[in-house]
Structures are given as C-alpha cells and as structure tokens.
C-alpha cells in the first residue's frame, strides 16, 4: 500500500465503462481512486505526490482472461513472479491463471496455493480459474463449490475442450448452481484430428494437416444450446473464425447472455504468417484466414466479440524449435497485448474505447470484478499509455522466462509507460529497454 496519496495530473482519462475520454486528474489514496476530476486537481492533500503525465492516456489496468504460467510444475517456462513482471510491463494489472499446471488447479487446496504464491511473488492480481474436470481429463466434475470458496473466480479446463455433451450439460447446470462463469475452449477433437494449422490451400501446399473451422463452430453451437438449457454464465474462451462470429451474433439476437473472447493473435495475425513453417505461429486455435481475421475484428468493433486476451502461453525452445508438425502450440503475449491491440485502433478498425473496454470493463463484468474502470472508489489499478510511442519488439528485452513470441521484430505503436496496482507503481518504462 502506498501510504502517500498520489495524483496523476494532466491526463487523458480513458474509461470504457463510462465512455469517458477527457482531460483530467486522478487522486489515489489507500490503493483506491479517491477522486477523479475534469481539468486540474484542486483539493489534493498537501503531502500528495503529483505526477504530471504530460497529456498521456490513463486507462484502467488491463484484465487478461487467458494466461498460462508454468507454476506449479514447469517453472523453467514461467513462474507467477515472471508472469507478473511481464504482465506489469504490458499494462496488465490482473490476469486469470489457467488451471493447466502440474498438478492441475482442480481442488480448493490448489487454488489456495496458487493465490498464496501469487500474493507472495507476483506484483499484479492473479485470479484463479478452477478446473471443470479432475485433471482436465474431461471425465469427472471437480468440486465447484469448494473451488469457489477457496477463491476460484470461474471454471475452465484451460487448453482442453470437453468432448462429451452429456458431461458439459452437467457441468453447466452445476456451475449455474453456484453462479460460476464457465470459460470453455471450443474444439471438436475428432474433427481437429492431428491437424496443426488452418485447413485450406496453404496447409495443403505445406503438406501439413489442417484443422477445419467447423472443429470450432460446431462445438460452439452445441455449447450455446446447452447454455440456454442450463442458464450458465457461459464464455466461449476463444473463437477464431468468421462462422463463429456469426453464431455468437445470432445467439445475441435471440437474447443469449453468452460471451466470447478472441486472442490478440487471432485478431492481428493470419495463417500466412506461418510462412515456411515458423513454429512460433503454431497456436490453438490455429491462425485462420485473413477473411476470418477481418470478421473477428468487425465482431470486436460491433461488440459481438466481448474480450481480447493475450493467450499468453510460455513454451521453451526445446518444444518450440521443432518441425512445425512436432512443435507445441502457444505464444507468449502479456508484454505485447496492448500495443498489438492498438494496431487495430491505429488502422481505424476499432474505436479506442471499445478496444480498451474489451481488455478492461468487459472482462471485469464477466467475472464480476470491481476493477476494470476508473471511478471514485474503484481499485487504483491503472496504466499510463503513450498511444503512439513507436517501438520494435525484441525478445531479448522480455520479462517472461520464455521467448516464444509471435511478434518478434514487429513494429508497434503504443506503449505502457507506467503500471499501477492498488496505488503502487509496479512498472515504469525505462528508455532504451
């Protein structure tokens, strides 16, 4: 806790929850936003530290709903501490840790462990997702109520997708019983088969097995029908195809409360980035066609796609520097999330507040968090952004323990200058790093 009050003055305050985009100042006291005014702060306490941000943007800290770490079990890939540093550098003040660890976060004691470790070592808020099924095996339900009591904010089987419709129905019904959101990765394993990239001419040309878009859209339709049936708070963890966007839009039209997310990779890259077998672009879901990407971006702009997440998935070079078909899926993304998303703003495809909302207020609403907005009384989790700052992604400067970025060498505009969690600065930009 920062004992001394803090004032951010001369700021462009961006608050997606209220639609605010105006010049003003913020007063932070006791880890919360004590006051927020247009123009200058007149009634600040005498001992307050005043930070003139010189007209830069101040926005709520980002809430990333899909982050894999290696703790416990694979600490050489990422610890909660290193993920926390990466998050802070990326302006992410809260992230949802996926339960795919060793052992799996599938019981209350593991949720408790994760939270204690995070509190002791990570400088950002780490939220726990409890597994839906024991060992992520897709067979038996975990103890949802006990997971919730221990602090799990939602349920998810992480990278795994439950294949049994009957089990899903049970899971959704039982989760509704505790009013717990369910984040489900949609993938029909028998349709995806041994596929490693988007099915189509490019896969055929490269001699790689393809994953058809239907491996996502068919289970998505099934999940939405079950969500209607059970009343669960359903979140399609990540969608990647134009057809899935249509299916979500159609569900909304008939009044569904279901939400969905898309990874920053799916929103800003396409299958052509694989080039000649670049395994750092091997992802799950796979990078799709440019038409799919554009449909996702349009869905983001019109609100059909609720959330943008990093899908931060650290993998070491042993499993990543392999022939494409034999490499692991996944790319890190915490440190590039915001800047990559700003590409869509700079290109004129998505309005700034809408884009920020998809990483702040919408995820907060889905999980029922009080963070994710700039308002009197809200937690002082915020980020100072230079929206136009030009930089080139260099893997060597990452805080993450893994180096598997899909943005190496990318020229990005927009950078986090300072990240504040509960009133404390956890990251400040240094020129030259």
């Amino acid at each position: 806790m920062s004992p001394r009050p803090l004032v951010f003055s001369n700021a462009r305050i961006l608050d997606p929850a209220s639609g605010r985009d105006s010049r003003g100042a913020l007063l932070i006291e006791n880890g919360r936003i004590a006051d927020m005014v247009e123009g200058g702060m007149s009634g600040a306490p005498a001992d307050a530290e005043i930070i003139d941000v010189g007209g830069l943007a101040v926005a709520p800290g980002l809430i990333d709903l899909r982050v894999f770490t290696g703790e416990p079990g694979h600490e050489y890939r990422e610890t909660l501490a290193s993920a926390g540093q990466a998050a802070a550098a990326g302006g992410v003040t809260s992230f949802l840790a996926m339960p795919d660890t060793t052992p799996v976060i599938d019981e209350g004691a593991m949720v408790d462990y994760l939270q204690r470790r995070a509190k002791a070592t990570a400088r950002v808020n780490v939220l726990a997702a409890g597994a839906i099924t024991r060992g992520l095996a897709g067979k038996e339900l975990t103890e949802f109520g006990l997971l919730q009591e221990a602090g799990a904010v939602c349920l998810s089987d992480g990278r795994q997708s439950i294949q049994s419709t009957g089990l899903l129905r049970s899971a959704f019904s039982y989760a509704a019983n505790f009013d717990m959101p369910v984040f489900h990765h949609v993938r029909d394993n028998s349709l995806a088969g041994e596929g490693v990239m988007n099915e189509g001419p490019l896969a055929t040309m490269l001699g790689l097995k393809g994953i058809p878009g239907e491996a996502e859209s068919i289970p998505l339709s099934r999940d939405l029908a079950l969500a209607d049936l059970t009343g669960v708070r359903y979140h399609a963890a990540q969608i990647s195809t134009a057809r899935s966007v249509e299916i979500m839009a159609e569900a909304r039209r008939r009044g569904s409360r279901a939400t969905c997310g898309a990874s920053i990779n799916s929103l800003t890259l396409n299958e052509n980035d694989i080039g000649s077998y670049r395994s750092f672009f091997r992802l799950n879901p796979p990078l799709r066609s440019e038409d799919d990407r554009r449909a996702l971006v349009a869905g983001l702009a019109d609100g059909t796609v609720d959330v943008i997440h990093s899908d931060h998935d650290p993998q070491d070079s042993e499993v990543k520097r392999q022939p494409f078909g034999e490499a692991s899926d996944g790319a890190i993304g915490l440190e590039t999330l915001l800047a990559a998303a700003l590409r869509l703003v700079h290109s004129g495809d998505v309005p700034l507040l809408r884009m920020l909302g998809a990483m702040t207020s919408r995820p907060a609403e889905i999980l029922g968090l009080e963070a994710g907005r700039l308002a009197r009384g809200a937690p002082a989790d915020l980020v100072v952004i230079d929206l136009d700052y030009p930089w080139v992604v260099k893997e060597a400067s990452f805080r993450s323990r893994s180096r598997n970025t899909s943005f190496e060498g990318a020229r990005l505009a927009g950078k986090v200058m300072r990240t504040v969690v509960a009133g404390e600065t956890v990251f400040a930009h240094e020129e030259g790093r």
């Binding site: 040309m205 393809g210 042993e318 392999q322 022939p323 494409f324 078909g325 034999e326």
Partner: protein, 321 residues
C-alpha cells in the same frame, strides 16, 4: 545423347543458382530444365562398364534418413559413390534422436563433422528446411512429411520426357492417396511449372482442401480422370493412414481406384504407367499392369540415380558455392 559420359558436357552446363534442393517450389522453370539436362548427361555414366565420374572426389555426403527407405537412400548412396564422394549413412533409429535429441541438435552435431552435403528424409513437413537453416553445407530434401520430394518429381519428369520427347502440352493423371503424398505435391508443382496439364484423381476423402490450386483438374472418377491422358501416375495407398476412416476397404478402393486394364483403357493408347514405389500390387495397381509393357516403373528407378547424381553435381561442383 553420347553413349559415354563426358565431363565436358557436364562442365558446359549452366551453373545451378541454389545452395540447397529443398523443394520444387523454390525452382524456376529454367532451374528445372537445367537439372533435367544435367541428369540426361548422367545417364551414360551408369550404363558404361566403369560407372564412375569422380567430380565429387574429396567431398563428404551424409545420408540422414529419419524414415526408413531402401530405395531412395540406396539411390542417393549409389549416386554419391559413382561421383566419387565419401558417403556415410547415418542410421537414425539407433542414434541419439531416439534419446530425445532435437533435430536442431542433430544438425549441429553433423555440421561439426564438416560434410559437403546432407541428404535428409523426415516424417515432418518442413523438417528438412529447418535443418538446412542450421548447417553450413548443402541440404537435399529426400522427402519431408506430406510436403515435397523434389528428386522424385525430377526423375518422373525425366522419365516422361524421354518417353514422350517433351513435357509441355502433355496430360498427366496422378491417382490415389493425394492427401498424404509428397510425391503428388512435388509433381504437381514441377509439371505445372512446365505447362503440363495435371489431373488429380482420388476419392474425396483423399483429396486435401485447396488441391485445385495445385492441379489443373480435380477428378473423383477414374474414367474422366484418365481420359486421353498421356501419363498415368499411381500413388502408393498409405493403408495404415487411410484404412477405415478415409476408405472403407482395400477391395472397394481397388474396384474404383485401382489401375486395371479397363481403367487404363480410358487413357491414350500410348500412355505410360508410372509408380514411385514401393507398390501395393492388387491395391492401387493390377500386377499385370505394373509388370506390363506400358509400365516404366523400373526405368524410373534408373532415372532416379541419374537425377540424384545431377543434383549432387549441380550443388557441389557448380559455381554457386
């Protein structure tokens, strides 16, 4: 063509402007013709009594086969030895790869032995290209997953050209397991580049999405696919992969897609029959046709040695290095 090998004829060849042979996709039509002409000049070397043309003497060739292959590995070995290279076969099954060493580690290890060329076969598409990025010598792709098998396409083109006197304007039907076939992909690329009319013929389950962008025509019926074809190229059915899911049974496959007298009757009377081997007699091809007068299958094997000699010579004694 002269009956004896002439070093002068080879020396007169156009330099080959590539360091590696990773796929047909990287070659221009002149590059392809360059290799075919060089291969043509190599044929007499293997037909003379002293089958030797030591242009690669003092060079080291490593055959690195992660998938077993008697035919291709033997062909590369003979090609290298006839050119005077020191040829080493690395037996991968018993090597450290099975102990978890990565492909990149293997590349670094071999590279330290200072080879001049590494011939690689691997079950993963793109693996040969990945290895080529990590070594300081030439690399030849001897087949990577379902991606490419460039020397096979070259030897097929050479065989066709010798029988038909030309390539441009011919119609070549490639039949069978297109989905899993690197031979089909390399052939479609090579023949397409030289203005050959290509057809793929297979049941829909063995036709990968987007194959219409590689082939001139796509057929699911052998009669339409073979009609007036100059060349019928059969592919090996990858039983273990296809059986049960992609095709219900071998007998049904043979009934509709196996090359028998009746189906071959749709092709031109002078059509030749090819197969990259090893054949499944009675699965994709009637044994009587495989061993019959229109079959050029054993000649393909002979051309394989000539093509591989030509590729080795082009990469190692050309001016590009």
């Amino acid at each position: 063509m002269p009956d004896t090998a002439s070093t002068e004829a080879l020396r007169a060849s156009t330099p080959f402007p590539h360091r590696h042979l990773l796929g047909i996709a990287q070659l221009s039509p002149p590059d392809i013709l360059n290799l075919l002409d060089r291969a043509e000049a190599m044929i007499p070397v293997s037909r003379q009594e002293r089958k030797s043309l030591p242009t690669l003497s003092g060079k080291t060739q490593i055959n690195l086969f992660f998938e077993a292959s008697t035919r291709t590995q033997g062909s590369f070995e003979i090609a290298g030895k006839r050119l005077g290279a020191l040829v080493v076969n690395m037996s991968v099954r018993t090597s450290s790869v099975s102990k978890g060493e990565t492909l990149i580690d293997t590349a670094a290890t071999l590279n330290a032995m200072q080879p001049d060329v590494i011939i690689v076969r691997h079950s993963a598409a793109g693996a040969v290209e990945l290895l080529s990025q990590k070594v300081g010598c030439s690399v030849i792709n001897a087949g990577d997953g379902a991606h490419e098998h460039p020397t096979q396409a070259l030897l097929d083109a050479l065989t066709i050209r010798r029988h038909k006197g030309r390539l441009a304007g011919l119609t070549v039907a490639i039949c069978g397991d297109i989905a899993h076939s690197r031979v089909a992909r390399s052939n479609l690329l090579l023949l397409g580049a030289l203005n050959v009319r290509t057809r793929v013929v297979a049941p829909r389950t063995l036709l990968p999405r987007g194959i219409d962008q590689l082939a001139t025509e796509v057929h699911t019926d052998m009669e339409a696919g073979l009609r007036d074809a100059d060349v019928v190229m059969m592919l090996r059915l990858q039983h273990e992969r296809a059986s049960g899911r992609m095709i219900p049974s071998v007998r049904e496959y043979y009934r509709f897609y196996g090359l028998d007298e009746e189906k071959l009757g749709f092709a031109r009377p002078d059509a030749i029959v090819m197969h990259p081997g090893p054949m499944n007699r009675g699965v994709e091809i009637d044994p009587a046709i495989a061993d019959g007068s229109r079959s050029v299958i054993t000649e393909q094997v002979e051309m394989g040695v000539a093509v591989r000699m030509a590729v080795l010579d082009a990469l190692l004694s050309g001016g590009a290095r």
